[in-house]
């Protein structure tokens, strides 16, 4: 890792220095480098070309960045005395409860209902039917928010400026609610509404997949969809290779055999999701990023079945841990939520046909992204970490603690794991 930086220095030969300078002056266009330096400049460019790299297909980064910028409020120069607006703890709780209650105020616990109603009013301003609320109002509200110092309660100012624009009382109340809650929540809320729609789409996918798996199980003696019978111990995340090396090919069976359209296996929150098969006889998605749902790795010691009495997890929104592990990222967080729904949670489909929304990737004490054996190892590792740290500080141990230690301690996800038991929730690609 970066600790191993080399302290010895190197320098270029005089000829290479001159060529490098010429290359920079020509803005890295070798054709514009004079003949005297052309060969060396070309050589330098060929070397530096290795610095280019492909960046993965993630469109959410722009959204997230924009949301953070908007949440930050006005630029430094224009908000000299503006106090910071932060949602109060109660409001955060109310917002969470409101979203968890599928945006229905009546379902929010009584203690938070009043705050949830205020949030609901705000959502109505943003998403309400255009009939009662013209677009102009939303624009005016946005402008007002942009020019109102953060944290300032806006009723008074609002009423005077609004009266001249001729708002109805109901509109005014909504706007007052927006300002009371604070500008800080506004943009995240917009994205929450979008996320919510995607979440509803996935709920409907869950029902459709449950029905497709049910039909498959009916035709194949209770078995879950599978493409091959030999997966255990082999790498299983090489999506798009052969069914022996790709767990997703098992799930793809539903589309291949006509139990489900591929579009029903695609989540709206996955920018790379494939909705059409690439060819008539395709057996799998083309690459890992296209797969929207993670499927239970079936080939542990016992095979789980599709059964009303069974409790295991069959399917979930795609696993962030597997995505990162397959990209060879070293930092994996078992508590990370699926990227499908803005990191807010994930759907799981159980073997008894029930779907549930999880705010954290845990069922009981079982993490759904990792096999049980790994969860135990992580727990053990975390329990001895303070001891290792204090012994290093006391000079009894040599070395550095870095992420390498986590790899050495055996918790690297290799893509060959299988669940420990039939009830261990562990979903693959």
């Amino acid at each position: 890792m970066t600790n191993g930086q080399d302290r010895s220095t190197f320098n270029l030969t005089a000829a290479d220095m001159a060529a490098m300078d010429a290359l920079v002056a020509a803005e890295f266009d070798v054709r514009r480098v004079g003949e005297a330096h052309a060969d060396r400049a070309a050589q330098a460019l060929s070397l530096l070309r290795v610095l280019d790299c492909a960046v993965p297909c993630e469109v959410t980064l722009v959204d997230v960045t924009m949301a953070r910028v908007m949440r930050a409020g006005a630029p430094a120069g224009s908000r000299d005395d503006a106090p910071e607006a932060e949602l109060s703890g109660d409001d955060i709780e109310a917002l969470d409860a409101y979203v968890a209650a599928d945006f229905r105020v009546a379902r929010v616990a009584a203690s938070l209902r009043e705050r949830a109603a205020a949030i609901d009013a705000m959502v109505t301003v943003v998403t309400g039917p255009i009939g009662s609320l013209d677009k102009d109002l939303v624009d005016k509200t946005m402008r007002l928010i942009a020019t109102t110092p953060k944290g300032v309660r806006g009723e008074v100012e609002m009423s005077s400026s609004a009266r001249s624009s001729g708002f109805r009382l109901a509109d005014l109340l909504s706007i007052a609610a927006v300002l009371l809650i604070g500008v800080a929540v506004f943009w995240p809320m917009l994205s929450t509404v979008r996320t919510f729609q995607v979440r509803q789409g996935c709920a409907s996918n869950m029902a459709s997949i449950a029905s497709a798996v049910g039909s498959y199980a009916g035709d194949y003696r209770g078995s879950l969809p599978m493409a091959t019978a030999s997966l255990g111990g082999l790498p299983w995340w090489d999506v798009g290779t052969t069914p022996e090396h790709s767990n997703s090919a098992n799930l793809y069976t539903l589309a291949r055999l006509g139990y489900s359209p591929l579009s029903r296996l695609a989540c709206g929150g996955n920018p790379c999701a494939a909705v059409q098969p690439t060819s008539k006889d395709a057996q799998d998605w083309a690459r890992l990023e296209e797969v929207s749902y993670s499927y239970q790795i079936m080939f542990g010691t016992q095979r789980p079945v599709w059964d009303r009495a069974a409790q295991g997890v069959v399917l979930s929104d795609r696993s962030p841990v597997i995505l990162r592990a397959a990209r060879k990222e070293r930092e994996l967080s078992p508590m990370e939520n699926s990227p499908n729904h803005g990191g807010q949670g994930q759907w799981v489909l159980r073997a008894d046909g029930a779907a549930a929304w999880l705010h954290r990737p845990v069922i009981g004490h079982d993490n759904i992204w990792l096999p049980k054996a790994y969860e135990d190892q992580i727990a053990q590792f975390l329990s001895v970490l303070p001891e290792i740290r204090s012994r290093i500080q006391a000079g009894q141990l040599q070395g550095t603690i870095s992420v390498d230690v986590e790899v050495d301690s055996g918790v690297a996800v290799l893509g060959t794991e299988t669940p420990s038991t039939a009830t261990d929730a562990f979903v693959g690609p």
Binding site: A54, T65, R389, G399
Partner: protein
């Protein structure tokens, strides 16, 4: 219709047009993210720094001198954020010992001030595909072996393709220093790269 320049878009944003800012983010995403992935060494961290950089741009909007170029400003801010990120990460994750183990000691790698001749470095052929994982990892390992200031100048120069004078201006260091740092950076990178390609890579 010509697309608006970065500077014009930024002016529009300062006038209150949010869409203009979004356009700026979208426009610079691929290049800036590539730059940051190489500088920070991993995707997730690079994405965090990417956001931090635009947030800083937003917060410092009023201090930006409209006669200057937007892109170098953005990259310089991003490089500074990357430095902060790595520093924080280092503090959180690594307990440095007072005398760190010199992993490179004794493997015969060059003594101080050794010269590297670029013509002797094995470089990929012009048509060689480079976006495979193995190459990617090697490049990153070679970069990770460079001190931050060298990595920064190498990547700034390569990804921005601007003159020494502009780099000097943006980083606030003398022109001569920019030159000598870039020379040292290219030499160190070439040396690392070569060493890696000579030896079979470690598991």
């Amino acid at each position: 219709m010509d697309p608006a320049s970065d500077e014009a878009l930024f002016e529009q944003y300062r006038g209150g047009d949010r869409k203009a800012f979004r356009t700026l983010i979208e426009r610079h995403q691929p290049e800036l993210l590539r730059f940051l992935v190489r500088l920070v060494g991993e995707q997730a961290g690079a994405e965090d720094v990417f956001q931090d950089a635009f947030l800083q741009i937003h917060l410092s909007a009023d201090t930006f001198d409209a006669t200057r170029r937007f892109r170098p400003w953005l990259f310089t801010i991003a490089a500074n954020k990357a430095r902060d990120h790595l520093r924080k990460k280092g503090r959180r994750r690594t307990l440095e010992l007072s005398a760190p183990v010199d992993r490179d000691r004794g493997d015969g790698e060059g003594s101080a001030g050794a010269f590297v001749d670029l013509m002797e470095v094995r470089v990929p052929a012009p048509d060689e595909a480079l976006d495979n994982e193995e190459t990617n990892r090697q490049v990153q390992r070679a970069l990770d072996g460079l001190p931050f200031i060298l990595r920064e100048i190498l990547l700034l120069a390569y990804f921005q393709r601007i003159s020494y004078a502009q780099i000097a201006d943006e980083l606030g260091i003398p022109l001569g220093t920019v030159k000598s740092r870039l020379h040292a950076a290219v030499a160190a990178f070439a040396k690392k790269w070569n060493t890696m390609n000579e030896k079979p890579s470690e598991p």
